[in-house]
């Protein structure tokens, strides 16, 4: 294995671990009463958001949904700004105006903030892709959606419009088997959501959403296709949401066996194991990684906590540009 491959593997691990660490810390902060709003659990989704985001080039853009913390981090959003957003501080990407990952966009980093209405981010991503095509730029838009959101009309309209205009866009469908409490069987009547793609004239692929390499490899292919005028692709990534829908949700509606089964498939633990086996990772490197992540997270938390709340006198500013 080449040294550069090793670095690459470690990087993927780092991003996933960072994602989980930020998620965990956010939950702790919430439990300490430091977060006024709610937060969405990320556990189980790390390989998808990290793997897909790592397939992008710097000039590409990403329009994530609410379980894509990894994509924000990979694109350069610091843990500090993420905590600041959760803690409703003025230094956050929304200046304290939007909640958790909503509206956590930063166009300089190529991140489009989403609105709650699912899967509206897909339609915004269409527009980014359209702008690249319009200007003849070799850039691609990447966007994420959930299994539940795939029942919304906006999902189908987006696939269709992307296919008709042959837009340079990649859709990642994170199939975590639940939409809040609603299991797949009450959400759709087919076995594989990737089939939706075919019905609108784009390729649909399925990957293991718990395998970061699989996610990245397939996304790279789709991005390559999009960048070269081949049009859109839908990638369905299978996973399981390992916690409640959001902070307050104990998710008793999820069978314990299902969680147990998927616990064994943890995207980070398994990837780590593989890296140990391949001798890419050793105790020392892992310790260094952990230290670095802890430092980043703690510094970020500190920074966020020291950030001021927005000044109420700014309330009515910026409604118009």
């Amino acid at each position: 294995m080449l040294e550069s491959d090793k670095t690459d593997h470690i990087k993927l691990l780092y991003w996933m671990m960072l994602t989980r660490a930020v998620d965990d810390r956010t939950i702790s902060l919430a439990k300490l009463g430091k977060i006024p709003g709610t937060i969405f659990s990320q556990k189980g989704h790390e390989a998808i958001s990290v793997g897909a985001a790592c397939a992008l080039s710097a000039a590409d853009v990403v329009a994530p949904m609410h379980r894509d913390l990894g994509a924000y981090l990979v694109r350069g959003m610091t843990p500090g700004r993420i905590f600041s957003q959760a803690m409703a501080r003025s230094t956050s990407p929304s200046q304290g105006r939007d909640v958790n990952t909503h509206g956590m966009g930063d166009i300089e980093l190529g991140i489009i903030g989403y609105v709650s209405h699912l899967p509206q981010a897909m339609t915004v991503a269409l527009g980014a892709a359209f702008s690249f095509q319009y200007r003849n730029e070799p850039r691609v838009a990447l966007t994420f959606t959930g299994d539940g959101a795939s029942s919304e009309g906006a999902f189908s309209e987006s696939l269709n419009l992307a296919a008709v205009l042959k837009l340079p866009i990649v859709f990642i469908l994170e199939d975590n088997q639940y939409a809040y409490s609603t299991p797949s069987k009450y959400q759709y009547a087919i076995t594989d959501l990737a089939a939706r793609a075919t019905a609108f004239g784009l390729p649909g692929m399925t990957v293991s959403g718990n395998n970061v390499l699989d996610v990245r490899r397939t996304t790279i292919k789709a991005i390559h296709r999009a960048r070269n005028g081949g049009g859109p692709t839908l990638i369905k990534a299978n996973t399981m949401r390992m916690e409640g829908h959001a902070l307050h949700d104990s998710a008793e509606y999820v069978p314990k066996e299902l969680l147990d089964k998927w616990k064994a498939k943890d995207p980070i633990a398994n990837y780590k194991k593989m890296l140990y086996e391949k001798k890419v990772l050793n105790r020392r490197t892992e310790k260094l990684l952990l230290e670095q992540i802890n430092k980043e997270v703690s510094n970020g938390e500190q920074w966020a906590e020291n950030s001021p709340y927005p000044d109420p006198s700014t309330l009515t500013e910026g409604v118009y540009a």
Binding site: P36, G37, T38, A88, R89, S90, S94, G96, R97, D98, V99, N100, H102, G103, V115, S116, H117, L118, G148, A149, S151, E152, G153, A179, Y180, S181, T182, Y186, Q187, Y188, Y253, Y309, P310, D311, P312, T314, L315, T316, V319
Partner: protein
């Protein structure tokens, strides 16, 4: 009478109407097994099963449309939007079909579109909205927003029994913060009738929803300064009870309209217009609106606290009005 929360009052109304009338059924996201994001539908799934308490896919357009068709065929659907903010995703079937159907086709459409509504819980721009003005401006819909557990139960039962499409917004800020005495049996509170929640002589505070308790608190405090406020709880936003509004205004001559929805073209504007059209000679001061400003609902507590009116802002405005 037992004391129950606003949320329990809603839940009770749903249980009792489902029991009383088997044409009543519910549909929405996560209302079944979970009992709703706020537990408003708790216990219904266990009692009535998936036949009558249906966890739908995420498709506000299609399930609102389904409600239209089911109502047309004689059922009484209750649709839950997970938050009032998501009613914009099911907008077309409500404003184009449900609202216009009786006028065009002469068939009643008894539907209730329910949703947790409003701010005060730092839930940000997309979980705090107050979109009632969109629907009040749309002819053919009734719009109801209760302010206390008693009214919540009675108005919801009325809404379910009403032959028209009713938008029923529940101030989620009050779900658990408000308790009150509520008869355990089914009863109705008439749609279209405002309630004088507090009587007074100097100023009419016209309001609804979660601002009613704020107005009452303010009135009690203002009383100490010898300012006597009458609080009109509209309860039904559309059609408005002009009579009760005008009666109060004719008595006090001073009007303070209060709501947590945005100002421009909100319900407060309509009330100001009704008053200035019909009680002009009785007015002793400018009509004052105390509302949220024309911005999205911001998340951060200092911002939302400044955004959302409360008893303090009412007291301040009432004093200015009183000494006008």
């Amino acid at each position: 009478m037992p004391e129950i929360t606003f949320l329990q009052a809603i839940n009770q109304a749903l249980h009792q109407e489902m029991e009383a009338d088997n044409t009543v059924f519910m549909l929405g996201q996560d209302i079944g097994i979970l009992g709703g994001a706020f537990k408003a539908t708790e216990g219904l799934f266990d009692k009535f099963g998936r036949e009558r308490v249906i966890d739908t896919p995420m498709c506000e357009y299609a399930f609102s449309g389904l409600a239209n068709g089911a109502a047309l065929m004689g059922l009484r659907p209750i649709v839950e939007f997970q938050f009032a903010d998501f009613i914009s995703t099911g907008f077309d079937p409500i404003v184009q079909f449900a609202a216009t159907h009786h006028y065009r086709q002469n068939n009643p459409l008894p539907i209730v579109f329910r949703a947790p509504w409003g701010g005060g819980s730092y839930a940000g721009p997309f979980h705090s909205q107050c979109p009632e003005a969109w629907f009040a401006h749309t002819a053919g819909l009734k719009v109801v927003i209760p302010s206390n557990p008693y009214d919540a139960k009675g108005l919801l039962i009325s809404a379910i029994r009403d032959p028209n499409p009713v938008i029923f917004f529940e101030p989620k800020y009050l779900y658990r913060s408000q308790s009150g005495e509520v008869p355990s049996d089914a009863y109705t509170v008439d749609l279209g009738l405002a309630n004088v929640a507090h009587t007074g002589d100097d100023i009419s505070i016209i309001t609804y929803g979660a601002m009613v308790p704020e107005a009452i608190t303010a009135s009690k405090i203002l009383h100490k300064s010898n300012i006597s406020c009458e609080v009109i709880d509209l309860r039904t936003i559309s059609p408005l009870d002009s009579q009760t509004i005008l009666d109060s205004v004719k008595k006090t001559g001073k009007v303070l309209v209060l709501h947590e929805a945005r100002k421009t073209a909100g319900i407060g504007a309509e009330i100001a217009a009704i008053v200035s059209e019909n009680a002009f000679e009785y007015l002793d001061a400018p009509i004052t609106r105390v509302t949220a400003p024309d911005t999205p609902v911001p998340y951060s507590p200092p911002l939302e606290n400044a955004y959302r009116p409360n008893s303090d802002s009412v007291i301040q405005a009432a004093k200015t009005l009183y000494y006008f």
